[in-house]
Amino acid sequence: MWDKIKDFASEFFVTGDPMILGAQVSIALAIVAIVFVLTFFKKWRWLWTEWLTTVDHKRIGVMYIICSLLMLFRGGVDALLMRMQLAAPQLEFLNADHYNAIFTTHGVIMIFFMAMPLMFGLFNIVVPLQIGARDVAFPFLNSFSFWMFFFGAMLFNVSFVIGGSPDAGWLAYPPLSGLEGSPGLGQDFYIWGIQISGMGSLATGINFIATIIKMRAPGMKLMQMPMFTWSTMASCVTIIFAFPILTVTLFLLYLDRFVGTHFFTLDGGGNPMMYINLIWMWGHPEVYIVILPAFGILSEVVSTFSKKKLFGYKSMVFALMSISIVSFFTWAHHFFTMGSGAGVNTFFAISTMVIAIPTGVKVFNWLFTMVRGRISFTTPMMWVFAFIFCFVVGGMTGVMLSVAPADFQFHNSYFLIAHFHQVLIGGVVFGYFAGLTYWWPKVFGFRLHEGLGKWAFWLWNIGFYVCFFPQYALGFMGMTRRINTYSFDMGWQPLNVVSTVGAFLMGAAFLFQVWQIAHSIRVHKMDANGDSWGDGRTLEWSIPSPVPFYNFARTPQVTGTDDWWEKKQRAEAAGKSVYDMEAAEPLEPIHMPKNSNIPFIMSTFWFFAGFGFVWEWMWMVIPSLIGVIICMIARSFSYNTDYYVPVSEVERTEAALRGTN
């Protein structure tokens, strides 16, 4: 009996690596600590009713962001481990297998479990407030999306200590990711982790399109929406067209592994190159899915801190929407070397270059917004400057890569690595940091510490260029991606050392951000009226921060773009307080959705179904899937899903929130 348990445990847990053992022990200790704290302070009930079952878009947004920052930490540690290994030739810090696992999980975590949830978190917090809505169109579905993301991420992360990490690259090309190339369980964790969180992403895409189309405050025309809302729309349209392709592709890969079909196998007529086409038909739109909201954030921040209307509103909308369409016609530029022939390569080279046009339009719009503006150099605005410079250079190296004949030289070299990190860090991450600092006071009622924020800002920026500029050169010198070591004769060491130093500077920058948040939570001044930066232009700044659960006490009546700014101007002209003018309007009972425990329970069942599929434990899969179906039926049969908040309660809440005026 004891031997049986021991056998099982040695197969179940990843063993034989001191670093992973350390991680296992610390994970176990962390779980014990969390359980202890929750029990000691009697917080279980609070956790369940206020957070785990909530359908409030603001709380869901906060949970998304917490998870994404944790994932940024894990992905970042992976990156530092890789940079350590590459700092000197012939190092044996990580062996080849471990290195493969680490670059795979680094990529997957950063895209799926860091960038996506950070983006969804900002959608959730900001979009309903910007359009004057009480919640998203489908609050229940929204909660479901979050928990599917959460359990998908857990399933993926658990592979690191249980069963073994995936190690076939972040997009898991077959035949390497097939059963013969990767007989372990890592690929199955990869497939089910992404599949489960992908269902959540798809639902979020649907949810936010419906929210933006159907839930806008009366009077707000499409062409009067704030630019972040437009960028959310562009991103979500791309999500609903791209994510089903990912779902099918990974499903087919799983069938190849689990059932023995021949979609992507080398025998039986399978076609591995079809996988690469399919995955990039999702994968290229995916990078636009995450960058488009960053463009929206920039537009909001630039116009707020230049105290001017955004320059070229219509061209901005046109640029966002055209990128979301053209993004579907560029996928083959990821494999010009496949041998599709000159005609195909030419088409994809040109479509890729075409994307630079709307992007250029945006950059000029931001610059012209600043011209003659009264710019305040707050941290969010600093991130905007960093973004514009970094993204433009990154974009230009992208145009270099799009030149198909030249790409035969750059393909899969460190030049490519430097390029996509420049657009993903310099674009997505810097942009989201701008958004996070900009909307932080809306969520918590106080601003983040500026001084520490600027430390983090400079360390990120210096670290970035020190880390990635040498990599462009290393690419030209012939260093290819995904190699775990190199010989001394290659002459790559000096630049690699520089690059590693840069990576650690960015690691230090992250620590400054953690310090910034911790410090601001302890020492801060609460917001007086909700217009935290004093120059808010859009509706979210018209309500108190933190925002009451029903968002708007009175449904706002919108008359134009930057409605809140206009209202403030009108009030000033009339010599009255804008808040008094608002408070004069009568209140009505507010229709709100009720909390539900079904999304959490149903996603837990999905987690166990996924876990069972990974281990091929049908005794776990079948009951879990039945549990999923029962949850769906239970939801369908429950009719008591919403309620009205009485006027007296709204009055009381508003008086408490506005009382500090």
Binding site: I209, F241, V248, F263, G268, V645, P646
Partner: protein, 206 residues
């Protein structure tokens, strides 16, 4: 949250009925968006099938094994079920709960007959030596046709659940929206089947 527990019954006045109607409309709109995603899902499977059309790896060919007669019968059954689900919606618009439930029931029976025929066809194919693992062609065939079949089966469970709700609650704005949505789903599956019938069966045999 304190406010969750508190129910403001007094507020359920007549003035809020419009808001309810609006919200049901939003859900129908959301379902149209879902149909877009499902179109892409099937589109990807059709593309996969098209790429692997000729990859039979010296195994059995579709033209040898597929018997068109049975497929034509099941096609007519599914098309008829789309028609009956349409009648169900007309009964709903007339306000006839009984007629609505009856026609939904007929739709379920036709859908179940379709699934029965599909399962028999699959068993027949496997007996003839064309399983999902036989070659890339048959992998794509079973996945595409099977995904459609899975959609129909989910629709059946859904429709039965809806019939129970209709029996208990009658025709309300909420149940009305639910019937509208499932009939959209059902017609959508019918359209997909027409493509399956054309590309997989007719073109596979010819």
């Amino acid at each position: 949250m304190a406010h969750v527990a508190k129910q403001a019954n007094a507020a359920h006045g007549n003035g809020h009925h419009d808001e309810h109607h609006d919200h049901e409309d939003v859900k129908v709109f959301g379902f149209w968006l879902f149909i877009i995603t499902d179109c892409i899902l099937f589109g990807t499977l059709f593309a996969t099938f098209a790429v692997l059309r000729g990859s039979t790896a010296a195994g059995p060919l579709p033209s040898d094994l597929i018997e068109l007669t049975g497929i034509i019968v099941s096609t007519f059954i599914l098309l008829t079920s789309s028609y009956t689900s349409g009648i169900a919606v007309l009964q709903m618009n007339k306000g006839n709960v009984k007629g609505l439930i009856t026609w939904l029931g007929i739709t379920v029976l036709l859908g179940a007959a379709f699934i029965y025929l599909e399962v028999t066809e699959f068993i027949h194919l496997v007996h003839e030596g064309a399983a999902i693992t036989t070659s890339a062609y048959w992998s794509a065939f079973f996945t595409l046709v099977g995904t459609h079949g899975l959609h129909v089966s989910i629709g059946l469970v859904w429709m039965i659940g809806l019939m129970l709700q209709l029996k208990r609650r009658g025709i309300t704005p909420v149940t009305k929206r639910k019937v509208t949505i499932i009939s959209l789903y059902w017609h959508f599956l019918d359209v997909i089947w027409i493509f399956v019938f054309t590309f997989v069966y007719l073109m596979g045999v010819m």
